[in-house]
Amino acid sequence: MQTMSALQGLLGGVLIGLSATLLMGLLGRVAGISGILSGLVFERGGDRPWRVAFLLGLVSGPGLLMLSGLGWGNVAGDSGAMTGAPASGLTTMLIAGLLVGLGTGLGSGCTSGHGVCGLARLSPRSMAATLVFVLVAMLTVFVARHMLGGAP
């Protein structure tokens, strides 16, 4: 199971890399989800059509797989599912969403913009940002799970 999960991870990662390559080769843009989507919500101008189309594509990927019933998902412990259950209730998710929005807005990027595209460009800013958000997220999980004692 572990090997299968790793292989699916690798395959999915390659698809994400192809997406980033396509966006650069065709439109000359970095595939940063937070930048594309916050731009779609808050900016006017010529980037709107492709950003709307990108959002539709992003949602229709998992949606089409779900409809197809192919069972290509990689949800831990549920081979039929395409999306996993949320990790927490409403209050935690509201706080988490606000922090993710504020943080990726101020820090100019998320896991895709800094983590994938930025590392591939060998950008020092993206390398530093990726190191910080991965380490802080690990620390957050450690405190939430093992010190405050939520899940095992």
């Binding site: 690798l10 990662g13 990790a87």
Partner: protein, 137 residues
């Protein structure tokens, strides 16, 4: 054509997130939980994505310009500042609490639940707040 390019890129991205299991917060938190039952899947996703993008970028940059635009638009700054690192830290806390970063959260819309809806509304609010706090936008 630009919209079609956007759709194809989004579709590949969404398929990649779903097939890799990044639309499962438990997998993401499992990777972040280094003191628990560690789940290495995310390393393979990030590794596969970065290596493919690294090679892909260098191939497309051999051309003078992208196919449907007049120039490549790349970030040029190389300095580190408080806004970048502080923002990354806030993002890290939210990511650790929820197991969602923006891509997987939005790509999980076909499996919408109340906690995910709450996350997405707050995410947009956070983006708005960040723009208010950023001079010149």
């Amino acid at each position: 054509m630009k919209a079609l390019a956007g759709y194809l890129a989004g579709l590949l991205f969404g398929l990649g997130l779903a097939i890799s299991g990044m639309t499962d917060p438990a997998r993401v938190i499992g990777f972040l939980d280094v003191a628990g039952a560690w789940d290495p899947t995310l390393i393979f996703v990030l590794g596969g994505a970065v290596i493919t993008t690294f090679i892909g970028y260098r191939l497309v940059w051999r051309r003078q310009m992208p196919l449907f635009e007049s120039r490549f638009q790349l970030p040029t700054r190389r300095d580190l500042d408080t806004r970048l690192l502080g923002g990354a830290a806030l993002f890290g806390i939210g990511w650790g609490l929820s197991g969602y970063c923006p891509g997987p959260a939005v790509a999980s819309l076909p499996g919408l639940s109340w906690p995910l809806a709450a996350f997405l509304v707050a995410l947009v609010l956070g983006w708005w707040l960040a723009r208010r706090l950023t001079p010149g936008t």
